[in-house]
Symmetry: C2
Subunit: 349 residues, 2 copies
DNA sequence: TCGCCTGGGGTAAGCGCTTGCTGGGGAGGA
DNA sequence: TCCTCCCCAGCAAGCGCTTACCCCAGGCGA
């Protein structure tokens, strides 16, 4: 039914082997023969049978990218960057070569994460990129580590982007702790002492690290007496930021700054403050994390820690393809940069 | 090296055929045999070889989802919803059955769109979902139509979500024209007469349809004398909205409302107006389109046309899996709903 | 002139799984 | 008791491609 290699071979009056070699281009073929084959391919509109070639060659051109939430630009940016690395470098005719980046949305669910990992293993994916914070439940962590080893053992490259290192995987960690610490230091330097914190879901590494950085800064300044009481956990979304802010204000109406675990939450924080009649930054300063595109022109522009998500994603993509050398020890840290903008200012009085 | 069907068969003391049948569950197997096989599968941690089974069965469990920009929540929401439909309905043990939704980011580029289509054809994808507006260049439209037919011919289901129907594909179109018209009518009803419009890229169907709806409303109210001059094209992003707004104000400082082609642009519009010292909605009303999550709690809350993106994506997913009957004629229209919020109000005076 | 090398191309053996067909044996009917 | 019939399992033929291996025909040095 479908056009096969054999059909092309027949039309080009060569053997199937020759056609295969022309298409994969890893074997000397005489110019004239090559042209004949290529013409036949075009005329027949032949498209390689992926599964068949994957089976025979024991490799596939699939690369999996796991994200917690594609609807969140944080992941969208990383995933987009990874995928952009997969396209054939300009000039190549598009014949073979390019990989297919598969973006898989786990929705933050550990089961689905494992499920996708299995699916990708089944597809004999060439590589898998795990993005975003990991869930910290020990069972799950072990399960993921096991899967990762198994994938690595079967030749699938495993790359982590934005989560703590594990064995058998190349890792790009984000400096969440250090970044969070610098961010809170910025607030302390401005003179704030009563700083609220809206954290993400408790069981995520990203959440914990950012919170730890925040606490470390407070502790170093001796301003951590009430840190516990001024921390509220929620999801990494706007609504959580809104609700958490109301809760924080309920607990302590006198706080002069709120740090959010990420920019999306920060937007919710701003909305809640505004609804409570508080001005930003005159009454309360607000800071986020990630520096997503919308943060720069929120009103007021959001102070945040910039994470080079696009660059990190691109690098993860290259690592997945083996186009970039491993960092020493298989682990590289991506730094966050303070973007001090209009949403933070010295407290009143 | 890797565990194969044969290994499992040997351990369970049955033939490979039996193992295969147990795993796919489409053939009667005695209870005791089944258990023996399942145990062997677990003990050996066997994972099916996807390519091999795809080759033998001439079907694959890949479903492609093409989006213009994953970093844009519009697409993120649709893609996430499609993918969520792929998971096995609760209760099933996860053995076989589930599809792998592959999200492919075209970046709006026609070449990459075709490229991905070829890649998916090569993988013998079970289905392909094309989301978002189509590029209107006739050559490209023809190329896509051809590819779509070829895919359909080779058994791949083709589903369109948010673009105009083409042959051989099931389509979920968005009522962009009608929605845009109702939105502008809302503004006209409020009393606005000088309404600016920030459109998307000129060659997109979505752009054209929304603009046409807008113009139709103006024309019906006899308010379209300057429509041409009060329209500025840009990309579907914030920066374009910002720049376009400055341009609109330059052309006519007296306009009392600006309609943006989508919510993201609208946010840029708001930022620009604010920077120009204009209040929303007192001085200028602003309206968007799509009703993305952030729109409801922007400041002021954005008036916009709600498109049920999640529902549409989910339905597209079900259509792709053949789990939902085709709509009559293969085409269904998804309506937009007016969400009148705080960013629009009667003009002053 | 002859043997040898080498570039170019064919042959065929799988890759791991699915599935149509075959076959063995127990249960039930005659 | 013998014969059907049915239920389950095995056999084996591919699915379309890759690649190790073999072979042939020139070209070249001796």
């Amino acid at each position: 039914m479908a056009v096969t290699l054999a059909d092309v071979a027949a039309r080009a009056r060569v053997s199937a082997a020759t056609v295969s070699r022309v298409l994969s281009g890893n074997y000397p073929v005489a110019e004239s023969t090559r042209n004949r084959v290529l013409r036949a391919v075009d005329e027949l509109e032949y498209v390689v049978n992926g599964p068949a070639s994957a089976l025979a060659a024991a490799t596939s051109d699939l690369v999996g990218v796991l994200v917690n939430d594609i609807a969140d630009p944080f992941f969208g940016i990383i995933a987009g960057a990874v995928q952009a690395e997969m396209v054939t470098p300009a000039g190549e005719s598009g014949r073979g070569g390019e990989k297919l980046a598969v973006i898989c949305n786990t929705g933050g669910s550990p089961e689905r994460e494992l499920n996708y990992l299995t699916l990708l293993q089944r597809q004999r994916a060439a590589a898998v990129v795990l993005t975003g914070g990991a869930v910290e439940h020990p069972d799950h962590a072990a399960a993921v580590a096991t899967k990762a080893s198994r994938l690595a053992a079967s030749g699938t490259r495993v790359v982590l982007c934005g989560r703590p290192p594990i064995e058998d995987a190349t890792t790009l960690t984000f400096d969440n702790r250090g970044g969070a610490r610098r961010l809170t230091e910025h607030l302390l330097t401005l003179g704030h002492r009563r700083v609220g914190y809206v954290a993400g879901p408790a069981e995520r590494t990203t959440t914990r690290h950012r919170l730890e950085g925040h606490r470390a800064a407070l502790a170093a300044a001796g301003a951590d007496q009430e840190a516990e009481r001024l921390t509220v956990h929620g999801l990494y979304d706007r609504a959580s930021g809104y609700d958490a802010t109301l809760e924080l204000l309920r607990r302590d109406r006198s706080l002069t700054a709120i740090v959010a675990a990420n920019d999306t939450i920060a937007l919710g924080v701003c909305a809640a403050l505004r609804d409570q009649g508080l001005r930003i930054p005159e009454d309360v300063s607000v800071a986020g994390f990630d520096d997503l595109p919308f943060s720069a022109d929120a009103v007021p522009a959001l102070t945040t820690m910039r994470l080079p998500l696009h660059e990190a994603g691109a690098r993860a993509g290259r690592l997945a393809l083996g186009r970039e050398p491993q960092p020493p020890g298989g682990v590289a840290m991506v730094r966050a940069e303070l973007m001090a903008r209009a949403s933070t200012a010295p407290p009143r009085g």
